[in-house]
């Protein structure tokens, strides 16, 4: 049987991917993952034996929410996605478009969509991570898709105001 730490270890690549998509910044993302891992190892005794992966996503999601709250007091946050230098590894311009589109979403919508689409969590798992009913998750995913589609079709940055 696989141990707690081994299972955490196996989740690190996916956590980094999720954190990167949430933050659009490699350094911020890895800081988030680091804090998540520290928290998880330390709180191992609190882990109740459920789905470890969901639990790790829950910690990371909460830490990111705290981070955004503390950033929200600063006006400079309006520049999400603008400050990072063009990513040489970015396959094509489409990568930048989707990144910008994601940046226009409300945090809860972005989280829900990324967990479903990128991380492959079920609606039920996302509901657990976000602490809301499944119906709320579905409506967040639906709104996220609507907003991204509107953004990509218009390609106008008018919606990129800070919420």
């Amino acid at each position: 049987m696989i141990g707690f730490k081994e299972e955490v270890q196996l989740a690190i690549p996916a956590l980094r991917r999720y954190a990167r998509a949430l933050t659009h910044d490699a350094d911020v993302a890895d800081d988030l993952v680091q804090d998540t891992l520290v928290r998880a190892l330390r709180s191992q005794h609190l882990f109740n034996g459920g789905e470890l992966r969901s639990w790790l996503y829950t910690i990371l999601t909460n830490l990111n929410r705290n981070r955004l709250r503390s950033l929200a007091r600063r006006p400079t946050i309006t520049a999400i996605g603008d400050n990072d230098a063009p990513d040489a590894s970015s396959p094509e311009a489409g990568g930048r478009d989707i990144e910008r589109a994601l940046a226009t979403l409300l945090e809860d919508q972005r989280t829900a969509l990324l967990l479903v689409v990128l991380e492959g969590l079920s609606y039920r798992e996302v509901a657990e991570v976000q602490g809301v009913p499944i119906g709320t998750v579905m409506s967040r995913v639906a709104r996220a898709r609507l907003q991204i589609r509107a953004y990509l079709e218009n390609e106008r940055p008018m919606l990129r105001r800070v919420k």
Partner: protein
């Protein structure tokens, strides 16, 4: 036949894309999409979005894990015999993280607030640790009252960690100001040779962080933020000992994050 006559809802279209649709509705949804071009276009757009998201970020999961995220470096808790040997590495690791943190957030006032708090705690340590007659306001004999009083003033339930295993007994505590004028709790500990350690706790809006180390004029501090509370452990002793005490305190402080 009956099921296929039910109109398809938006929720079902999303569930279809996300692989969450019950098998018995699949045929109905596919028939619906064949007959409704608008909905078929929406479903196609959602799939393209998902493809773009995966194309943009899936590489990250394939990249090598950077050293600071190597779990082996964080698994020290279960291997105390390795701790002394690892302490230097861990400190370097936290220092490295700290430098990165500062470099990243030079324009951000949050780390500054955190830094100011740590500096304030370190100053308090320097002032009170050398105090002979009145190092604390409330002595450890009154520990229960001390904790209730400080909890009330600081605004969250707090408890002085038991550091007897580190050879430290509680001297007592006092109420102190934070740089922003809020209340902070300050606990003082002493070992048999009279060396003093202090723990400073205050509410903060800074985000959670790993442990940081800083030293100034012979006294050092290890500090971190956990669930909107900042903790600063200070002493004039050597770093290794400070690290051990900070870790012991850290492990005893009830994590305030939990699953629901």
């Amino acid at each position: 036949m009956k099921d296929n006559d039910l109109p398809v809802t938006d929720d079902e279209l999303h569930a279809y894309v996300d692989g969450e649709l019950p098998a018995d509705r699949r045929a109905a949804v596919e028939a619906w999409l064949a007959a409704h071009a608008d909905d078929a276009a929406r479903v196609a757009a959602w799939r393209l979005q998902a493809d773009a998201i995966r194309a943009r970020y899936s590489d990250v999961a394939g990249q090598p894990i950077p050293p600071k995220l190597q779990l082996a470096r964080m698994s020290y808790a279960s291997r105390p015999w390795k701790l002394a040997a690892a302490a230097g590495v861990i400190l370097a690791f936290f220092l490295g993280g700290f430098v990165g943190w500062m470099a990243r957030d030079t324009a951000d006032d949050v780390p500054d607030a955190f830094e100011r708090l740590a500096a304030q705690a370190l100053n308090a340590h320097k002032v009170y640790a050398v105090e002979v007659r009145h190092p604390v306001e409330v002595a450890a004999a009154d520990a229960e009252h001390l904790q209730q009083w400080l909890s009330k003033r600081v605004g969250y339930p707090l408890r002085a960690p038991n550091l007897e295993a580190q050879g430290l007994h509680l001297v007592g505590g006092r109420l102190l100001p934070t740089p922003t004028g809020a209340a902070a709790a300050f606990f003082m500990y002493e070992n048999p040779s009279g060396e003093r350690f202090t723990l400073y706790c205050a509410r903060t809006k800074s985000p959670n962080s790993a442990m940081h180390y800083n030293a100034a004029e012979k006294a050092g501090a290890i500090y971190w933020v956990d669930s909107n509370v900042a903790y600063v452990v200070s002493s004039a002793g050597e770093r290794k000992q400070l690290w051990k005490v900070a870790r012991a305190a850290y492990e005893q402080i009830e994590p305030r994050v939990s699953r629901q």
